[in-house]
Amino acid sequence: MSSIIQVKHLSKEFRDIKAVNDLSFEVPAGQVYGFLGQNGAGKSTTIRMLLTLITPTAGSIEIFGMELRHHRKEILRQTGAMIEKPDLYKYLTALENLRIFALMSGMKVTEKQLMDQLAMVGLAERAKSKVRTFSQGMKQRLGIAVALVHDPRLIILDEPTNGLDPQGIADIRKLIWHLSRDLGKTLMVSSHLLGEMELIADNMLIIDKGKKIVEGKKEALLNPDTVQVEIMTDDKDKAIAVIRETNWKDCLAASANGTVLLEMQKEDIPQLNRTLAERGINIFSLRPKHTLEDFFLSLTKN
């Protein structure tokens, strides 16, 4: 599968702070690429470098097979973005905002096309209302319409569900699916809502302190051969002692508050359960940690 974005050894320093540190990744065409990281991990800085808002200190960015520095206009003409908050001209209407950004992208659009775009994000009835009268959720949806108005091949959305209610989040999720599955667009979506990312992303990149922690297909990341298992027992110390006598002694990862954490092969979990029970240890719960949230926290907590 060809890559739409290829980032190699990208770094950005602000004086003595390394916001992004030797980051490399590839975004496959036609997929939803989840971009995860804690606040301050370097997600927004990376996205801003992809959109030429920030100049990298080192590294290269290729989009659509073209070097970003030398083919900026061609690349940005085919790229739509919503960066952090959807700030727009509050004294203009939704329709006027949309028209301005379509024209700035080099697109001549008819009023019908603009209205269709607004209908897609559920704002057709408020087309002639000033943006200052919009709720946060409506601004967010208009921001997405602005990102899509020139029919880009690549869409970069930075925290698109920020400030939305559950229905709004579900609507954005459906829109992202529609763009990716029905229209074949490539989307790079950053979010801190891990549950949402688990639902929408095909591939994921997790960064921390500006560095790549892991990248790959969602299924492979969330269902690896080796999983983390959290065991809650009535006697944590005894459980650890038993485990140390077995072949799993090297799998011990951590222990705290009555729980023991192991990193082990998935198929060994039933045998571990039997061994602990046979040695008289009461097991209250034995939970393989494989949600994105568990995975994310296990990667970034140190």
Binding site: I54, D87, I100
Partner: protein, 292 residues
């Protein structure tokens, strides 16, 4: 480029604050015209009292539309720059403040092109503002007060310019004032490129104009040759040169200008400042990380 310029002008003229400057100018000019309509003779009397005692002209002859316009321009052209700064100082920093700058810069338009278009839009606003001043101060005054010879006081002397020799001087003076105000717009625009909020560049421009104007008007010999020639505010007063005429045996020579090279020099210096400010803004903005 034309499409981008239309967008910028659309944004400027859809903002209610843009029209504050037009309203303020209309209010000031109207107040001056009312004052001169009802107390003009007294004002002329006061003005003439400081002149050579041999000069004698009836107040109703002195008080006419051209004279009123001259008074208004003397009072107003110091303050219009502040109104220009309100818009020019907001062109880039205002976008950063609203959060729209990151959207603009991520569009397929070069940063240089974006700044040139924005500056052109600020320039067009400045020209429209001056046309508004011209319409109200010159043409409305001509309607209200009629036309006659223009009496221009210079120290203890008076230049008398015939009515037929005046209009072109005003057109030239307004054209010169446009260059001066474009320079102020460029200064404000440059400061706007450095900032992420609108207040800073506007206040900084106003401060620069106030300080430079005070220095320009200070009658201290030390500053006359050291600082004043380099202040753009000194050269902004060059528009008055179109009303300083040459004379022969006490008679004004029609269509003459006392010191045209000085006016041209001042105009070129103002243009040079404007270009310097604009290029500094572009140079800086091309390297700026957009973090707003």
């Amino acid at each position: 480029m034309w499409q981008l310029l239309k967008i910028e002008l659309y944004k400027i003229f859809r903002r209610p604050r843009t029209f504050i400057a037009f309203a303020v100018i209309a209010a000031i000019i109207f107040l001056i015209q009312v004052a001169l309509k009802f107390g003009g003779e007294e004002y002329v009397g006061m003005m003439m009292s400081g002149l050579n005692s041999t000069f004698d002209a009836p107040a109703d002859q002195v008080m006419n539309g051209y004279f009123v316009c001259f008074i208004i321009l003397n009072l107003l052209l110091i303050h219009v720059p502040i109104l220009v700064a309100l818009v020019a100082g907001d062109m880039i920093s205002g976008e950063a403040n609203m959060g729209t700058l990151r959207l603009l810069v991520s569009k397929p338009v070069s940063r240089t092109q974006l700044l040139l278009v924005k500056f052109t839009a600020a320039g067009i606003y400045t020209i429209l503002l001056l046309l508004w001043v011209a319409l109200l101060s010159l043409f409305l005054s001509m309607l209200i007060f009629g036309t006659n010879e223009l009496f221009v006081a210079r120290g203890e002397e008076v230049n008398i310019i015939s009515a037929a020799d005046i209009l072109w001087r005003y057109i030239a003076a307004f054209a010169f004032a446009t260059v001066g105000l474009i320079t102020v717009a460029a200064l404000s625009f440059m400061l706007s490129a450095f900032a992420d909020n609108s207040i800073g560049p506007i206040v900084a421009t106003v401060c620069v104009i106030i300080v430079f104007t005070i220095l320009t008007q200070m009658q201290i010999p030390f500053y006359d040759n050291t600082i004043k020639p380099y202040l753009f505010t000194t050269h902004m007063l060059g528009w008055k040169g179109f009303f300083y005429v040459q004379g022969e045996e006490g008679v004004t020579i029609e269509r003459s200008i006392e010191n045209l090279p000085a006016i041209i020099r001042s105009g070129l210096i103002l243009l040079a400042y404007a270009v310097l400010f604009l290029f500094t803004a572009i140079w800086y903005f091309k390297r700026k990380n957009i973090l707003s």
